[in-house]
């Protein structure tokens, strides 16, 4: 760049121009000259110099106006003012109008001028690089946000799908009414729940929590839903009783999930309710905190647990049986609920949940007591299932 750099000298003093030409040529600059402001503007347009040396006091156009015009028309070209009448006001005005440097005449050492131009060119090059860099960053950023928008749109669509798969909130099946909420920590949740009728007499429900969260975990919740609906279908078309038997269902789901060779385990609580008697048969594959069952003010944890689905280990699944009296409630939440007050230990939190359930007869009062709202920012997904046995028919 140094070899081909061109400098334009605008000065009415021909002796001065010649002296400057001499020193710049010695430093391998290409040199152009102009003797007044008007021809200086023409020369700048014609030769596109890399830098301009400008005298402020010349006949014709005022030097400061020439400076203003040069800065306006060639904003990237350094203009260095070299002037004999160097009052402080001149200096300030020149710098204000965009001069890159100010050197007063007489110039005792012309080499100093070359240094000033060298420095200005370096600075101009840096500014240009910086601008190119920002420009390419801006473009990369635009491409990234376009890609991100696409990902977000995908996630949003998946989220919509996930929420559409959820059963109706407040659904009544026989003597039992079911409520649910899903609070994802990201767009997609690894938590999922369902409830549905089984024949005329029973209803079934489950809450599952896939390890991790985000798209991969949400994908596994979709697989799980499909596997469960396969069993529902087998029940309705071939009277296959697996879906009525929690322990067998969990074993079957475990085998199917293992066959997928996906390294994510799933905790799941699955229950079958008898509408006529309120009898609850359940299986638990590692669901924690333990589900809570309330009959009147009396709340107990269903502590039979066991190995999560698709996790190596010798432990079996937990299984048990209990019953809901009229007005009895059951509350299951995924473990994200224990994170809501990290200062408390899990045990205190679980006791807190039991106290809340003792006083709550619907899900909204549970959520209120937990201070859990749609807008809450979560570190983990939370799914909550609440069900109540109605007092009487109707």
């Amino acid at each position: 760049m140094r070899e081909s750099a061109a400098v334009l000298i605008v000065d009415d003093d021909s002796w001065g121009r010649r002296a400057f030409r001499h020193v710049f040529e010695r430093h391998h600059y290409q040199v152009f000259e102009a003797e007044d402001g008007a021809s200086g503007m023409l020369a700048a347009a014609e030769h596109q110099p890399n830098a301009v040396l400008l005298d402020l006091r010349m006949p014709g156009l005022d030097g400061l106006d020439v400076l203003g015009a040069l800065v306006r028309d060639f904003p990237d070209t350094p203009v260095i003012v070299v002037s004999g009448v160097g009052t402080m006001q001149d200096v300030v005005e020149a710098l204000r109008r965009g001069a890159w440097d100010f050197i007063s005449k007489p110039v005792l050492d012309p080499e100093f001028l070359v240094h000033a131009v060298d420095r200005a060119l370096e600075k101009a090059a840096l500014l240009r690089e910086n601008r190119d860099y920002s420009e390419s960053l801006k473009q990369a950023n635009q491409r990234l946000s376009a890609a991100l928008d696409e990902l977000r749109a995908d996630e949003q669509a998946a989220r919509q799908l996930q929420f559409q798969l959820l059963p109706e909130d407040g659904l009544r099946i026989g003597m039992h009414r079911f409520y649910r909420r899903l609070f994802p920590s990201q767009t997609l949740s690894g938590d999922f729940l369902e409830y549905f009728p089984l024949g005329d007499r029973h209803s079934a429900f489950y809450l599952a929590d896939v390890a991790g969260h985000g798209a991969a975990s949400a994908f596994i919740t979709a697989i799980l839903t499909t596997l469960v609906s396969k069993h529902r279908e087998a029940f309705s078309t071939r009277d296959d009783p697996t879906i009525l038997r929690p322990a067998e269902l969990l074993q079957s789901l475990d085998a199917d999930l293992r066959a997928q060779r996906l390294e994510k385990h799933v905790t799941m609580f699955y229950g079958v309710l008898d509408s006529a008697t309120g009898r609850l048969v359940y299986g638990n594959a590692g669901a924690f905190p333990f589900p809570l069952i309330a009959n009147g003010d009396d709340v107990v944890e269903l502590q039979n647990s066991g190995r999560p689905l698709n996790l190596p280990g010798s432990a079996g699944f937990g299984a048990g049986e209990t019953s809901l009296a009229p007005g009895g409630r059951l509350l299951i939440a995924s473990d994200g609920i224990l994170e809501l007050s990290p200062k408390e230990g899990h045990r205190a939190r679980r006791e807190g949940l039991a106290r809340i359930l003792a006083k709550s007869h619907d899900l909204s009062s549970v959520l209120e007591a937990l201070a859990l709202e749609e807008a809450t920012t979560l570190t983990d997904d939370i799914a909550i299932l609440f069900l109540r046995r109605e007092e009487s028919h109707g």
Partner: protein, 164 residues
């Protein structure tokens, strides 16, 4: 909240992984690669997961413990132990049935002092293996307290081992 940190030390084929802080899914891939590396190089006689200083382990890390125990079993190393005295963590471990796959102890210091009688049998009984592992754990902890054994940062180990 304490930063998640996992360190490792080994004594005679018994490997101790010490978890501290709140260990979540961000740490899991590094721990996984580290343990896979151990098994690939062979010579794993026992695995001890020391959770004494852990505040919490998320589901991804709990899953990893179970998978690594299974891998240890496949390699005929049938000793996998968890040292944990955090009630919250213990409740979760129990809820997932871990006590049936792992030896879970609350404090390695309380082990019988004179384990020198245990001779290397070709096929150690479960109790012998347990004693050996606890002794290894105890020895490492004692040494690390006196500064003679440095527990190596698992993530840093991986970074230095990565071929570039």
């Amino acid at each position: 909240m304490a930063k998640a940190h996992v360190t490792h030390a080994e004594s005679d084929g018994v490997h101790v992984l010490r978890y501290s802080g709140k260990v979540d899914y961000m740490s899991a891939p590094a721990i996984r690669r580290f343990l896979d590396g151990l098994f690939d190089r062979g010579k794993v006689r026992g695995l001890i997961f020391d959770l004494s200083d852990a505040e919490a382990l998320d589901s991804t890390n709990l899953g990893l413990l179970a998978r690594m125990r299974e891998r240890a079993e496949r390699c005929h190393c049938n000793g996998s132990m968890i040292v944990s005295r955090n009630e919250d963590i213990n409740d979760v471990l129990r809820s997932m049935g871990f006590e049936q796959s792992f030896e879970i102890v609350s404090d390695a210091q309380g082990v019988a002092e004179n384990c020198s009688d245990c001779v290397d049998a070709p096929c150690p009984s479960t109790s012998e293996l347990r004693e050996t592992m606890l002794e290894a754990h105890k020895a490492l902890m004692r040494l690390s307290e006196s500064g003679r054994v440095q527990f190596a940062d698992v993530v840093a180990c991986l970074e230095s081992e990565q071929p570039h």
